[in-house]
Amino acid sequence: MDDKRIIGMAANAEYARWAHRETNPEDIFKKPEALDDMLVIDASHGSYAGLFASSILSELGAEVVRVESPGGDIARKMSPYGMMVKDSGLAYITEARNKFHVTLDITTQVGANIFKRLAQKADVVIETFKPGYLDQRGVGYRQLAVQNPGLIYCPIYVYGQFGKDAEKYGNQPDYDITNQARGVIMSVTGEPDLDPEVAPEYKRPLKQGNWMGWYAGGAWAAFGIMTAMYHKRQTGKGQIVDCSPPEGLLAISNYVMQYYHMSHNLMPRAGNYDYAVFPYTYVKCKDGYTFISGFTDPNWTALCEIMDRPELRAKYPTIKERLNPQNQPDIQHQIEAFTSKYTADELLRVIGSYMKRPDRKGTVVVGRLESPKEVVQREHWQDRLTFYVTDDPYYGEIFIQNSSFKAMSLTPGRIKWVCRPIGADNGYIYQKYLGIGKTRLEELRQAGVV
């Protein structure tokens, strides 16, 4: 690769070259995998928390067996506007990476028994049923751990496996929207109540655009599983990893909980403002939106100088005034009155030339909001192999986000294949782990078990 592209804007070029050699994406498949001694059963159903958790483990080398009901996981049907590629939607194809796909009807005695035998060999079982569902069928943690005390059992569910709310609402299914609703972050995200220019119908809690509830749930599950696995490697002991995705969000809800404890006050929805650093916001410009910051006194002075608005600086002289939610809509609109006269690139130039002035008063940062179409074209992401492109024998041309663990120098994360049709690996997996061959498999198929 061209040296200039490797060192980019690095302050320390030698370091960049060294880092490139250590984490060159071209070497990924020459290197070992961190978790390739692990067997993971992902029996999740209709949950991208389960799927993301097992994606993480599979990128890091674990053998993941997806156990779907004979008709296929309903998660395969969750796709924007119903777009399908063969038997799977766009979301499923994104999170089916490296996984073997088998079908099994665990509501039958034979199926439950097969599940039990499979789980006895596993390090990890992930499931997303309602609490107690597998236990009632004799294949929950209590029963599986008898034969396999090292089992790490990870149930993922919106209300968790126990607790007052789990007892009260344990018959509800698990969805991203309810995970986000219970995750507190949604209560402080969305258009601000205090801005008179925002129409009332937009003054409501807002979810993150992606499946943040499910993805956070999945990432925390993977973290818990690997932590439990670390303990297991030292003691041989397994355990339950009870993952409730909203707890994964409320645990990262900035200081809302601390602030409540200390002041007994709640924080309102912040819009694009921030109650601890402001201006630190998105503003309108001629051709879209741009990020702009000028928080500390010197930086705020610089911003007002760039906008040629000395009276604004005088009106909001310290961070006390600028962090007051009553003042923020006005500050926001005043900045927008300036920025909407320029395109994002023009702003970059205006502010760039101010930053070169020897008499500048502080630092102002701007940056245009990238659309997905722009992101996929950026050289940086191409060089870092941020996206994985393949011509899959079954699903055709596929373009998905790659593992984000690619730059582990010794055990980089990777994608080997993107997805498999429903039940495509029944033959291989049942033969490998249970000695079920062609004839017996056909019998199970006829009985509707697989």
Binding site: M78, D176, A276
Partner: protein, 444 residues
């Protein structure tokens, strides 16, 4: 569904919060050196610390910026809540890292450490002579993670990233917000927190591998790429259609129905994708024909149908209370939940019983009630031991216990300005004003 009482009883015993401190910690014996500031790096280390890792945090003389970043410029007992949130159970060192003697001290600690984490400018540690090459020479098992917006190499390496920049450069905020309105930033620094989480995941992968082979490694993690990774079907959709994913408010474009609705007394999130679930919802609404028409989930995902269905639900919820919809959801098998606020969670017996919210008595700040990181591990649960600390609070403890330094040696490092403590004229560096000069000190 009806719960098996004995399963619940079993779980309640397994998860008795009264026994938190009687159980082992999964990361006991893992020593982490944290050369991080602001939110992302410290959060990554915090996740490890609450599961038992011994995290030693290094701060410069000015102090971590989060000592000054706090909502409405609000401070509590001299502490900045902005600093508190990503710093628990840690040991606090004030040390001027870019100094030959400091480097020596740091390397002595590396010999006895497992993980080094930094979120400085890429290559800064290398410039100080603390590159992975150098660390590995003295400790072949060391795991070093560097995290930055764009990583250690590539056309954009060296570009500055903040949380809000990462949310926008990774296209999260452009897909968040209402259809006919502009993009909306998360109410929290979400790109920092979730990237910290994935850093902790990759450190756990490296620790697991080291347990198998004894080998350490270097990890380069990218914040903006992490945001990209989390955007589910966005990229395949863009590739297939050549268009951008649209903002859709609270409506889920891939699951229908799934949205937020107005009730007579607040907001309720409702979802019901599977046929049975949607049937339950339609039954609750008393609209059997809606189910007949749209029983097939794929049919519901078509844009026009989705809008009709969501409108019908909104019309129904308007006359219901949130509690009624939640209860119906449970009875008829669809998802329905209120939007929880901080006070809802704070006062909820559910989250106390689960150990999600833990109460502890901090030696400096007194009674604290906070969330402790998930997930809930039955055998080796996470726990809160103490809160954030004044600058340099644990200098003596760390240098004496781990490096065997004498009092006089510590004193002379202080005099040379290589190590230091809080600046008494900067309140958010300092202990609470009523501090007795002993409480919380580990070797006092």
């Amino acid at each position: 569904m009806k719960q098996d009482g004995s399963y619940l009883e079993f779980l309640k015993q397994e998860y008795d919060v009264g026994k938190l401190f009687d159980k082992p910690e999964p990361l006991k014996g893992v020593r982490v050196l944290e050369v991080c500031y602001v939110v992302l790096g410290p959060a990554a280390c915090d996740y490890l610390a609450e599961f038992g890792a011994e995290v030693i945090k290094f701060e410069g003389q000015k102090g971590d910026q989060m000592r000054f970043v706090t909502p409405y410029a609000f401070f509590w007992k001299n502490m900045s809540p902005g600093l508190e949130i990503e710093n628990h159970n840690k040991y606090w060192i004030g040390m001027h890292m870019n100094n030959p003697k400091a480097k020596e001290i740091f390397l002595d600690l590396v010999k006895k450490a497992d993980v080094v984490v930094d979120n400085l400018t890429p290559g800064r540690l290398a410039t100080w002579g603390l590159s992975y090459k150098e660390l590995r020479e003295i400790n072949p098992g060391i795991i070093q993670l560097h995290v930055s917006g764009y990583g250690s190499w590539g056309p954009w390496t060296g570009r500055t990233s903040y949380d809000a920049v990462a949310q926008s450069m990774g296209a999260l905020s452009p897909i968040t917000g209402f259809e006919e309105r502009g993009p909306i930033k998360s109410g929290v620094w979400i790109a920092d927190w979730i990237t910290g989480l994935m850093c902790a995941v990759s450190i756990m992968a490296a620790l697991n591998y080291r347990e198998r082979t004894g080998e350490g490694q270097f990890i380069d993690y990218m914040q903006v790429e992490n945001v990209i990774r989390w955007l589910d079907w966005t990229w395949l959709f863009t590739h297939k259609t050549g268009t951008d994913r649209k903002r859709s408010g609270n409506r889920d474009l891939a699951i229908c129905p799934s949205d937020l609705f107005r009730c007579s007394d607040g907001w309720v999130a409702v979802a019901a994708f599977a046929e049975q679930e949607f049937k339950g919802l339609c039954e609750a609404m008393g609209q059997a024909t809606l189910f007949e028409k749209f029983h097939d989930p794929a049919e519901r995902l078509k844009d026009e149908n989705a809008r009709d269905i969501l409108q019908a639900i909104e019309a129904w919820t308007a006359a219901k209370t949130v509690g009624q919809v939640e209860e119906l959801g449970n009875r008829l098998g669809f998802a329905a939940s209120r939007v929880l606020s901080a006070s809802d969670v704070y006062h909820s017996p559910h989250f106390r019983e689960r150990g999600t919210m833990q109460q502890y008595d901090d030696a400096l700040y007194g009674d604290m009630v906070q969330h402790c990181y998930p997930p809930r591990l039955s055998e080796t649960p996470s726990r809160l031991k103490w809160s954030s600390r004044p600058l340099g609070f644990d200098n003596e403890y760390v240098f004496t216990k781990i490096l065997g330094m004498q009092r006089t040696a510590i004193k002379s490092l202080e005099e040379e300005g290589i190590i230091f403590k809080w600046n008494p004229s900067i309140p958010s560096h300092c202990p609470p004003s009523d501090w007795d000069e002993i409480s919380g000190k580990k070797l006092s």
